[in-house]
């Protein structure tokens, strides 16, 4: 851990100004990810801007009829919020599938979006890693990649020839998988003012710049996350598969939301976690379900479509089949054809 200065921001503008003034500065919220990264010397901020006193700590109604989740509301308070539990149980379920109670009590919603990959090599400065140190190489491709990505890792040159991927890391969040399925919108404030980022555009694929995780500009602060009115509360499922029953990141997770008319699917959302550099969605695959009956065949077709083009790197190849089975199961559970335990 390096030495750093510390500022407590007293307004959003103050926080942004401090960030603009110093490129090495970082916001700190719950600190559950940033402090670990600092101890491993992966992050070496010159200044920590403590944002925990900023007024982004409430959950409020939006005019559209959705909910606005303050960036500083903790993961625990979000998951156990009555309105969230009633109207967005998928989100609640996803958050509670992550980390541990202690971590969720500290972790904030903004921080959750910004958490970095759990790739072993990223965390260990002794090994090459393009995300940590651009151009140094990716240790995972030829190394131990059981927890790594199977989707969205391809790179092509201008002629469309396949190139060696630069990074096969996954985004580790559970919460974000549900937010992707729910089509949340991220509210941010930067030096040029406020803007909104649709969730699908928030996280990005690694491409040639794996050190950039998302679309947030360095000077921007997440202030809130807006949930649209439809929470798929009647038919939803967050299914997380991992190496132990709790306190482990997802090998594969599925956030599924359905709207049904009898046995017929009228609307479907599916997002995958643990398989790509961002929560993975494919609207074409979801469209395949619309108008279809809630059967194994319909679910399987959607699963196959979602995983089209998936590529394994050895130890993680099992995820392709696992993800398909998880999707089929989660859709069955969302449709209440199967028990959820």
């Amino acid at each position: 851990m390096n030495s750093f200065t510390y500022t407590r921001a007293d307004s959003v503008e103050h926080a942004v100004d401090e960030r603009v003034a110093e490129t090495g500065a970082r916001f700190i919220a719950g600190g559950t990810n940033l402090l670990d990264l600092m101890k491993e010397t992966v992050e070496k901020p010159s200044r920590l801007i403590d944002i925990t006193r900023l007024p982004m700590t409430s959950i409020t109604e939006t005019i559209e009829g959705g909910l606005r989740l303050g960036a500083l509301v903790t993961n625990a308070d979000t998951a156990y919020n009555k309105r969230v539990q009633e109207r967005y149980p998928l989100l609640s379920q996803a958050i509670l599938a992550g980390a541990s109670p202690q971590l969720r009590n500290m972790a904030t919603n903004g921080g959750n979006l910004m958490q970095r990959t759990r790739c072993y090599y990223f965390y260990d400065a002794a090994t090459p890693c393009n995300k940590r140190q651009p151009g140094s190489g990716c240790s995972a491709i030829e190394g131990f990649n059981r927890i790594h990505a199977i989707l969205g890792t391809h790179l092509f040159d201008q002629e469309g020839r396949a190139l060696e991927p630069q990074c096969i890391a996954t985004h580790p969040s559970d919460m974000c998988v549900a937010l992707a399925a729910l089509e949340a919108v991220v509210q941010v404030t930067g030096k040029y003012g406020e803007r909104t980022i649709p969730f699908a555009e928030f996280h990005r694929l690694p491409g040639n710049t794996p050190h950039i995780d998302n679309a947030l500009e360095p000077d921007e602060l997440i202030t809130a996350i807006d949930l649209p009115p439809n929470g798929f509360a009647d038919n939803h499922m967050y299914l997380k598969l991992r190496d132990r029953a709790s306190y482990a990141f997802a090998l594969v997770s599925v956030a599924a939301g359905l709207e049904l008319d009898g046995d017929t699917i009228t609307n479907a959302r599916i997002a995958l976690g643990g398989v790509a550099h961002k929560p993975w969605r494919k609207p074409e695959a979801e469209a395949l379900l619309v108008g279809k009956p809630t059967t194994q065949e319909s679910f399987q077709a959607a699963a196959d479509a979602l995983l089209a083009g998936a590529q394994g790197y050895g130890a993680n190849t099992f995820k392709i089949e696992l993800a398909k089975r998880a999707i089929v199961r989660a859709l069955g559970q969302a449709a209440k054809l199967e028990p959820t335990e």
């Binding site: 030495s3 101890k39 072993y120 002794a126 131990f144 190496d243 306190y247």
Partner: protein
């Protein structure tokens, strides 16, 4: 008279532990303490060509940076670096020279006024290496397997016995046989408490005086090491380790933070603390990965006639760590034709280290899956097969067991579990997507006793003070020794003050191998008896003493009194007796020695039977151990509560080993990569469901007069195989590689 032995008594140190009063090695505060932070190497093999410490040294608050270039002169010969648990070879010496022997090797120590400055300074040290090709893969180097080097370690860990009979021919000709290849990854102990040493420096005469708070499973081991390596007489060193936040074997050897802290303290003439980080907890001993082959054949009725078991274990390039992996088949089963073989593959890793049931859980996991496989070849119930091949003889040594109530374990365990309702066919039970399976396995572990010393003193206030330089690694030593002492002199537990973890106390061996209860228990018992004998002498001096002609056999201790057995009303209080001692405590030191004469004709072991139910999601491969029963035969149970906790811990770890635990060694970089508790998975609460422990009656007068065998390891031994066998029964899939993660089941 047994008043408290055998009772489920709460831990005497429980309150101190939960209130934080119990202090651990890194928690002792001393004025003027400096903090050391270890710099770890990043390559697996090669040389340091340059190490630039100037930037670190220029920081405010940095006192010194020690590297191989400026370290003090130290003991020259290997022998000085050999600790009590050192395997044959040449022990690793921190900061010895520029050579890198394994990834994560400590290459420098930064000492600063605060921990934070030391850690920051450590990040400023620039190191250049000349890398050499490394080998860290056991699988890729099996062709290099060679027999172990021999040394004193063989005494406790004998190599496999010579083959007997003719395995090949009998196996070939047998009607029923199985063969399997088994493997498991390396594992790290990962106790909650990080390794730490706080060295308190005081000026002495010619040499300084050091008081060292060390995380260790043996203060005697630490004092020996420090004394030899740094050439300081014993009398100038005191090592203290009153509590340990988990050992599991990791503290059986002095870890390098002890070396670092003492070196820095001596050089800087200051008190120094060095604490390792969680990541650095992956840079020393670990349970070695192994690859094993097992082949067993039987006649059509299930009588085993031939057994083959070989194992290849990793070790370092500098020491031959060995464990007993392949000897167990010959101890558990009676075939006449047996070949057991064990070889080592030296790799560019740190020397492995004993980890709970070292070798035992490794070998039994393979062996007991193999026996299950044989049962399925035979079409025979797995428990039936074990009963068919039951024996009271250790067929390796041809000696009978001093006691062996394994049959009772089978019976009571099966009964509690409901084994008789099991259907033989795999995939015969299902609930929705979940396949349900029942599996069982046998466990065995040695019942050893070492020599140890203890002191007992009946103080002038009538309290009983007892001490020994042993350790409580979380097992309950404080409690059971208090019980033994209380019963030996007939005083209530609250009158006994048992102390341990201090090198000033009478010497005891490192605490491991499940031998502490018997070893230190017998020393405590014997010291208390010696006090009792002195008390009898004092009793005889009473005016008109009714004890004049009494012999030791004629008296007993109860209710804080010495009294005649045949006439308990003839009694004198212990307080009266100690008052006769001229204002001094009645103090005796004594050695508890194993009775070699009595033991030599017997094999001594604890046994277990584990029964496990799993639920496996057929599509998703997730495994849940819904319930497990362990029936244990481990001689006399001193305290069913602490003993049960030991077994429960072993069962949890067995599940963890079967399903979760794996230190991921990346062979490209030659480094363990999941070096934190988020990615090194151990079972968590949500993984553990219904666990049940049965202690079967087992009387043993041969192991030692108290009949103690020890329960530290036996709880884990049978569990992984029982889990794997249950998974087979559920799914029909035989997984021979641990841990059984979901990708191995889909």
């Amino acid at each position: 008279m047994s008043q408290v032995i055998g009772k489920p008594i709460n831990r005497v140190d429980g309150r101190d532990k939960v209130t934080g009063k119990a202090k651990y090695a890194a928690e002792f505060q001393v004025p003027g303490l400096a903090y050391g932070y270890v710099v770890s190497g990043t390559i697996a093999k090669g040389k340091i060509t340059r190490i630039d410490t100037s930037e670190a040294l220029s920081l405010d608050g940095v006192l010194q940076v020690f590297t191989h270039e400026n370290r003090p002169r130290l003991a020259w010969f290997d022998i000085s670096y050999k600790d009590q648990d050192a395997p044959p070879g040449s022990p690793f010496r921190p900061l010895q020279d520029a050579t890198i022997k394994y990834s994560g090797q400590p290459i420098a120590l930064v000492v600063a006024e605060t921990f934070e400055v030391a850690r920051y300074a450590a990040s400023l040290i620039r190191v250049e290496y000349k890398e050499e090709p490394h080998e860290t893969s056991l699988e890729a180097n099996l062709h290099r397997a060679r027999p172990q080097k021999h040394g004193v370690a063989d005494l406790l860990k004998p190599p496999p016995p010579k083959p007997k009979g003719d395995f090949n021919t009998v196996y070939e000709e047998s009607p029923v046989k199985m063969y399997g290849r088994y493997s498991h990854a390396a594992e790290h102990h990962n106790p909650m408490e990080l390794f730490a040493s706080t060295v308190v420096y005081e000026k002495g005469g010619k040499k300084p005086k050091l008081t060292i708070y060390d995380k260790t499973q043996g203060v005697t081991n630490s004092i020996l090491y420090v004394s030899q390596v740094f050439d300081i007489p014993f009398k100038n060193i005191r090592v203290l380790s009153p509590y340990m936040g988990g050992g599991f074997g990791s503290g059986l050897r002095p870890q390098y933070q002890l070396f670092m802290a003492v070196m820095a303290s001596l050089e800087l003439k200051r008190s120094v603390r060095v604490t390792l980080t969680r990541q650095q907890m992956f840079t020393f001993g670990h349970r070695p990965a192994t690859v094993q082959n097992v082949a067993i054949s039987a006649s059509a009725d299930g009588a085993m006639n031939a057994l083959y078991h070989d194992a290849r274990g990793e070790t370092s390039r500098f020491e031959d760590y060995t464990e007993i992996v392949t000897n167990w088949g010959g101890m558990l089963y009676p075939p006449e034709n047996v070949t057991q073989d064990y070889k080592l593959v030296p790799l560019d890793v740190y020397t492995p280290l004993d980890m709970r049931a070292p070798g035992g859980v490794t070998g039994i996991s393979a062996l007991e899956i193999a026996v299950d496989e044989l049962a399925y070849e035979l079409g025979m119930d797995p428990l039936e097969l074990r009963l068919k091949n039951y024996t009271d003889l250790d067929h390796n040594s041809q000696k009978p067991f001093s006691s062996k109530e394994l049959r009772a374990c089978f019976q009571q365990g099966a009964e509690r579990f409901g084994w008789s309702k099991r259907q033989f066919e795999p995939r015969s039970m299902r609930k929705g997507h979940n396949l349900i399976g029942w599996g069982m396995a046998t466990g065995i572990w040695e019942a050893n006793q070492m020599p140890a010393r203890a002191e007992a003193a009946l103080l002038v206030n009538g309290k009983l003070w007892v001490s020994s330089a042993t350790a409580d690694i979380g097992t309950g030593t404080y409690t059971i020794m208090t019980q033994i002492a209380a019963d030996a002199l007939g005083v209530p537990m609250e009158d006994v003050l048992f102390k341990l973890g201090d090198s000033d106390f009478p010497v005891a061996p490192i605490s491991g191998g499940s031998w502490t209860a018997a070893t230190v228990g017998m020393a405590v018992h014997s010291a208390c008896e010696a006090v009792g004998k002195s008390l009898l002498e004092l009793a005889k001096k009473l005016a008109g003493s009714p004890f004049k002609g009494a012999k030791w056999e004629d008296i007993e201790f109860a209710d804080r009194q010495l009294r005649l057995k045949r006439e308990p009303t003839t009694a004198v209080s212990l307080q009266t007796l100690v008052d006769l001692n001229g204002g001094k405590a009645v103090r005796e030191t004594s050695t508890g020695l194993p009775n070699a004469l009595k033991q030599k004709d017997y094999a001594r072991a604890t046994h277990s039977a584990a029964f496990v139910e799993v639920m496996v999601d057929e599509d998703l491969g997730t495994v849940k151990v819904t319930r497990a029963v362990s029936a244990i035969a481990a001689g006399r149970i001193l305290n069913p509560k602490t003993a049960r906790s030991q077994i429960l811990g072993g069962m949890v770890w067995g599940i963890s080993k079967a399903l979760h635990e794996e230190s991921i060694l990346d062979h490209n970089v030659g480094r363990f990569m999941n070096h934190n508790l988020a990615e090194y998975h151990v079972s968590v609460n949500a993984d553990i469901h219904d666990l049940d422990v049965i202690f079967v009656e087992e009387n043993d007068t041969i192991v030692n007069p108290l009949g103690i065998k020890g329960v530290g390891e036996i709880g884990i031994v049978a569990m992984p195989a029982a889990v794997a066998n249950a998974i087979f029964h559920a799914t029909g899939k035989r997984v021979r590689d641990l841990p059984i993660t979901l990708d191995r089941l889909i």
